[in-house]
């Protein structure tokens, strides 16, 4: 039975109609009396609401989604934008909600490079900062991401805690919506730059206090599970271990009896040792 059949209505994108149908059925499907039927109903209700979002996709909604995709990538310097786009949640939404989004996506990537370049040229003197932070949400988000990137890319400012503190105490960040929108984008930035550091084996590491500060500010630990779903275990491990030390990385390996590979590796190791030892003793005996 699909969700519309459970709710006894025709498929619709009218959320009010979905709610009305749900309310009507809920009165005879009380959560305390019939948990199983209630769960079926509540799940149908939730998926109907989700589908309604999809059916509703018009120009304005699409613009909004597109907007979200462009921003996180502005800060990414590496050319692997394609892969990164796939790893961020908003981009996934595009694929789900608009299967024909491939063309737009390519355009997006092109835009990306342009906008990044223009951002890099941003002149960040004091006056400019004041002007930008006074303007609307979108330009603040652009400003924040660009500023974050330029702080990090400049070796003088990379680990200047004062400057990072100033950035994270911008009054505009009090705004819940701005903070929500930046949450994943900043995480994406941090996981990317930390991964870069790891791969380039650089000695000039990003100060763990800054990573810690960002994690506490955005409360990433409260959402580790969904972050893992979007960015994968490795990215979350990298960020969390820098912020909170190794205590936050799973280090306990599976015992050998549970992991066949671990078992065989140690098996080969012992065979090798025995082989070497016998050779050694043989040569000593000689």
């Amino acid at each position: 039975m699909n969700c519309w059949e459970v709710l006894v209505i025709e498929p619709t994108n009218d959320k009010k109609a979905i709610k009305r149908a749900y309310a009507k059925k809920l009165k005879v499907t009380h959560p305390e009396d019939d948990p199983v039927a209630f769960q079926e109903l509540s799940e149908a209700y939730q998926s109907a609401l989700n589908i309604a979002d999809y059916l509703e996709l018009d120009e304005s909604v699409y613009d909004e989604v597109e907007h979200d995709v462009v921003e996180p990538n502005k800060v990414i310097v590496n050319s692997e934008s394609k892969q990164l786009i796939d790893s961020i949640p908003q981009a996934e939404k595009i694929e789900l909600t608009k299967p024909s989004g491939d063309i737009e996506k390519i355009e997006l990537i092109e835009n990306l490079d342009e906008s990044f370049n223009s951002n890099e040229k941003l002149d960040l003197d004091e006056n400019k900062v004041a002007e930008i932070s006074a303007s609307d949400t979108d330009s603040f988000i652009d400003y924040f991401l660009a500023r974050m990137n330029s702080l990090y890319r400049n070796s003088d400012t990379k680990n200047d805690i004062e400057l990072w503190n100033d950035l994270f105490t911008e009054p505009m960040l009090d705004d819940i919506e701005i903070k929500q929108r930046l949450r994943y984008q900043v995480f994406d930035f941090f996981s990317c730059v930390l991964e870069e550091e790891l791969q380039s084996k650089t000695k000039d590491l990003f100060d763990k206090n800054i990573v810690y500060g960002a994690s506490e500010f955005f409360d990433w630990r409260e959402d580790e599970i969904s972050l893992t779903q979007y960015f994968g275990h490795e990215s979350v491990d990298i960020v969390m271990s820098r912020a909170y030390g190794n205590a936050n990385v799973s280090t306990d390996n599976v015992e050998s009896k549970e992991s066949s590979s671990g078992f065989s590796v140690s098996w080969f190791f012992w065979i090798f040792i025995i082989y070497v030892l016998t050779k050694l003793f043989a040569s000593l005996a000689k």
Partner: protein, 534 residues
């Protein structure tokens, strides 16, 4: 038989019931709707509660205790009058502790209710005519809760809730007290418990006064020295800056989880005494870019909401067209081994089965496979929490089941989590090849006392003598006078001592008429003393 709703607060407690049309608060022995959550013992070992006990916090701090709710479920012990008291002996969780406490007091605890849900329900029934989505911010004495609720066609749907169990008005008072001590170069340890309780009462009064005035003076004497400290609103901003920061995270989380856009919220409602503070209102206003609303007395909301939920539970006729759907506030799951790269496994990962803010009752299944050849058993540890690593989550229990030998990945089990409306989690594991099933019930809040244990506790409770109702008012007068005595100096002290002695002797006579007559005079004298303490 009707069910009452109890709001057991950190600072104050209230009781309410459903009168068939609307929720009503029940006044206590001295006619007050709000009873301070304070307990005190007198010299005969009798128990005083509420206002009288609160007064004795200053005169007899070693015999009195407040804010004990914060310690419920922990192993903290209170030592009063030479006896040890543990907020609860069977330690596990706060909710369980609360339930046990209720049963021990001879009440049948029908259900423990999420505080923000109760508050939201009170508002839901109060402004029932509209369809709306709103967010409730509940900042009480010791706890902070946020929930997002939607109302339509008689459905009250909780979308998300979040909170901080160790954040409230008492923390603000604490911060002001610390600030006062620092400003006046006083050492916390140099103060007697009496002096400290007096100081924190003064700071609390100052906190309240700053809600209406721009500035006020904290007056305090310890030993022979007297301190006067001016405090302004901007001082308060500075003192509470870090504490107030902590309000943001639960609010943001609730919004995020509910997936509601700020523009879709019809109202932001304030609940709890601490939301009276302008500094809190301003912060909320800034976060939401709108003025928060507060149409029910913030101290009464939760109790009224519990009474409504009691009525809902008993399916009261007046509420028959309303259905409340609640959520599970945290993520529940099991520990698993993850394959990181080819044949590289790592243990200790958390696999969520019921995600936080799922509508309850709910039941979900995940299928798990063996990771090693010839694995003999599968051991499922059950966890609650939001970390991807189980070691940062709270372990609730363990279920183990044997599986037939086979190649890695060949054998599979279905792990089913069922979370019911009373917060009881049932975990069942089924081996798909053998159909063997293991079930374990994790009662996160159920009372596991045997009847004998309850009977024994009740017997112990019988020995505690509680003052008869008619004496409650007289006890309050005496407690007030004793507190004033403690707060005053010199001649005034002697005067208070003399009127207390006189009043006690009149009480001894048990002549109701003269007691009543003198009580009136006594009240008036106390009132005038209260008005000029210094």
């Amino acid at each position: 038989m009707s069910i009452v709703g109890i709001d057991l607060g950190t600072t104050n407690s209230l009781v309410a019931y459903w009168d068939g049309e609307k929720p009503q608060l029940i006044p206590n022995a001295i006619g007050e709707l709000i009873t301070p959550s304070v307990i005190s013992f007198d010299k005969d070992g009798q128990v005083l509660i509420g206002e009288s006990a609160k007064q004795r916090m200053i005169s007899h701090p070693e015999l009195s205790v407040a804010e004990f709710k914060r310690k419920m479920g922990t192993s903290a012990q209170y030592k009063l009058a030479g006896k040890k008291f543990t907020p609860e002996d069977f330690s596990d969780s706060q909710r369980k502790a609360t339930k046990v406490a209720g049963e021990l007091a001879g009440l049948k605890v029908e259900r423990l209710i999420n505080e923000p849900t109760a508050a939201a329900v009170a508002y839901g029934v109060h402004d029932r005519e509209e369809e709306s989505q709103f967010l409730v911010v509940d900042l009480g004495g010791g706890t902070f809760d946020v929930s997002v609720l939607e109302l339509f066609d008689g459905v009250m749907e909780v979308h998300a809730s979040a909170g901080d169990n160790y954040l409230g008005g008492e923390d603000f008072t604490q911060k002001i007290t610390e600030w006062f001590l620092e400003k006046n170069q006083l050492n916390l340890k140099s103060l007697t418990p009496e002096a400290l309780n007096l100081l924190s009462k003064r700071c609390q009064v100052a906190k309240h006064e700053l809600s209406t005035n721009e500035q006020t003076v904290i007056k305090f004497h310890s030993g022979k020295s007297t301190f006067e400290q001016l405090i302004t609103r901007s001082d308060l901003d500075h003192i509470l800056k870090d504490t107030l920061e902590r309000l943001k995270s639960p609010i943001e989380r609730a919004i995020r989880d509910s997936k509601v856009k700020l523009s879709e919220l019809d109202d932001v409602l304030l609940v709890g005494g601490a939301t009276r503070m302008p500094i809190v209102r301003n912060l909320i206003g800034r976060l939401f870019r709108r003025l928060p609303a507060c149409t029910i007395d913030p101290d009464h909301v939760v109790a009224l909401g519990t009474a409504i939920q009691a009525a809902l539970k008993s399916r009261d006729q007046a509420l028959k067209d309303i259905v409340l759907t609640d959520i599970c506030p945290y993520t529940l799951g099991v520990d698993v081994v993850q394959e990181l790269k080819n044949n590289q496994y790592q243990a200790g990962y958390f696999l969520p089965i019921i995600e936080r803010n799922s509508m309850i009752p709910v039941s979900r299944v995940q299928t798990l496979n063996t990771v090693a050849d010839n694995q003999k058993k599968i051991n499922c540890s059950i966890y609650q929490g939001e970390s991807r690593l189980v070691k940062n989550n709270i372990k609730l229990g363990e279920v183990e089941i044997n599986v037939p030998k086979g190649k890695a990945g060949d054998e599979s089990v279905d792990v089913r989590f069922t979370y019911d409306i009373n917060g009881i989690l049932e975990v069942s594991i089924k081996v798909n090849s053998t159909e063997e099933v293991r079930t374990s019930i994790i009662k996160s809040e159920d009372c596991q006392l045997t009847d004998e244990q309850i009977a024994a506790s009740m017997k112990k409770l019988e020995q505690i003598k509680i003052h008869p109702r008619e004496q409650a008012e007289n006890r309050l007068r005496l407690a007030k006078a004793e507190r004033l005595y403690e707060e005053s100096l010199g001649d005034k002290r002697d005067f208070i001592a003399s009127i207390v002695a006189q009043y006690e002797s009149i009480l001894e006579t048990q002549d109701l008429k003269s007691i009543e007559k003198y009580s009136k005079e006594f009240d008036e004298t106390l009132q005038s003393l209260e008005e000029d303490v210094f």
